[in-house]
């Protein structure tokens, strides 16, 4: 199989278009790393400045074609990340981006400043699906100004690539996409999980202790393809599609819909080789269609 699957995300060269999504691959050291060969890049589990305990169990619930999670961004904090994980990342032959989270735009900025220059840290993915504590807890990602402010705060503190991961529950994702593009994002990641709820009919209350959780998995794929497509139409920077990808065909839907690359999340839980399988399937598809490179794949991307 010889099709050239490499992609260029604004100067960051990836050997393949299939990336590991944040929170579904840990810090890259946990999963049996059978799929490293095919991994375009890894996005780390979401990190805050300080360590966080996360939410009480139950944290996950399965739903038709998907799952809800409420992990609460459990993590060791930035210093432990730098100490315990970044050194291994520096050895790997694919880039690792850190998914950064905060309660105010200055917290995002501080995180970027602290991680900038740390060997092993190749860039940032800003998770704007966090409650903006200063603004009464509304998500940064729902408000174009807040989203832009966070992006700028990070942009000012680093020269590394800055990706922004968009929230799906908005009326018009194009508006947010343009706002963060204008604020200096190098790429967009679309999308994060949708908020959902599942009720325990024995206890007459939500199954998740946190009450709501983020829906991921195949169930959301048609929504994610649409949102990634809308984002791609709205901006000139690359868009990385995320949501419900389990097979090469799913990834190809995002790529044809205008995405430069994709991330695989939940599927990894089921199939630890999912990323390699998706990568190989894309290669096989391109070859079957007679394309010698991913860049030859026809795209459906009428511009707004």
């Amino acid at each position: 199989m010889n099709a050239d699957l490499s992609v260029d995300i604004r100067g960051m060269r990836l050997r393949g278009p299939v990336l590991a999504a944040s929170g579904t691959f840990g810090y890259g050291t946990e999963v049996p790393l059978l799929e490293r060969r095919a991994l375009g890049a890894m996005v780390s589990k979401g990190i805050f400045l300080r360590a966080r305990e996360g939410t009480a169990p139950p944290r996950i619930v399965e739903t038709p074609g998907g799952m809800l999670n409420a992990i609460g961004l459990q993590g060791p904090g930035v210093e432990a990340l730098i100490r315990d994980f970044a050194p291994s990342w520096a050895e790997w032959d694919f880039p690792v981006l850190v998914n950064i989270n905060g309660e105010s735009s200055s917290e995002y900025g501080e995180l970027a400043a602290r991680l900038d220059g740390v060997p092993g840290v190749a860039g940032f993915e800003i998770n704007i699906s966090c409650p903006n504590v200063e603004q009464g807890g509304l998500y940064f990602g729902n408000d174009p100004r807040a989203a832009a402010a966070v992006t700028e705060a990070v942009r000012r503190r680093t020269k590394l690539p800055v990706w922004v991961k968009l929230t799906p529950m908005v009326s018009d994702i194009g508006v947010i996409a343009r706002a963060v593009e204008g604020a200096g994002a190098d790429a967009l990641c679309a999308i994060n999980t949708f908020v959902g709820m599942s009720i325990d009919l024995n206890a007459y209350k939500p199954r998740l202790s946190f009450r709501t959780g983020g829906l991921s998995g195949p169930a959301i794929r048609p929504l994610a393809v649409h949102l990634a497509h809308q984002a791609a139409r709205a901006v000139r920077i690359p868009v990385i599609g995320i949501g419900g990808i389990t097979r090469a065909e799913d990834a190809l839907e995002f790529l044809v819909a205008g995405c430069a690359a994709v991330q695989v999340g939940t599927a990894t839980f089921v199939n630890p080789k999912a990323i390699a399988d998706v990568h190989d399937g894309i290669a096989a598809f391109l070859e079957a269609k007679g394309f010698s490179a991913l860049t030859d794949l026809p795209r459906y991307l009428p511009r707004d």
């Binding site: 840990g26 992990i71 839980f269």
Partner: protein, 233 residues
Amino acid sequence: MFVLGLEAPEIASSVRAGQFVNLGWAGGPLLRRPFSVYRADGDHIEVVLKAVGAGTAQLLGMELGDRVSCLGPLGRGFELAGRSAVLVSGGLGVAPMPLVVRDARTSGMEVTWVHGARTAAELCAEAEGDTLIWATDDGSQGFHGTAVAAAPDGDVVVACGPNRMLAAVAERWPHAQVAVETYMGCGTGVCLGCAVPLRRGGYDRACKEGPVYHAADIDWSALPSHLAYAVGA
């Protein structure tokens, strides 16, 4: 209670008592389903289960030759060292015990297995050990009461069963090793879905640091005692 046999040579030859496998199959639920390894022999492993939801019902409908993807062995098993082992199980908590018996005997331990159920009809016919004690809630066989109450002491106490039973184990033997049940996403340590609340604060992953814990390390009041979820069509 049914036994499902799987051909899985690598797992069969390396599995330790208390470890589990994560099963997935075509046409099954989205997420894999975790099961303790019940027995291991040559190229085969066995798991024991009953139909509680869609996934287990499908597993029980499998036929000879059907293929199941089997990830494992996962998690940390029991540490078995000392002169005597007391095994306490309730309901499907029998699942890890045959391997505990195997490994304890390999370590030269004397084995007492106390198994509890609601009634005699629900007891596990396959229990073994140097001493076997039955306990039933209704007194229909053996000791009238819980397995915890029926059990003697020993150098090592291992227990598996409903989380409520394990909390009672923790009261009596803080240093008992207990295998807990949680919801699981990945089974491999990446999703953080299988959080076990710790007495010292924070959470461990049942699939990685567990499923076997020292009873005293768990914050039993924060561990869901009733795992009630069902996957809809």
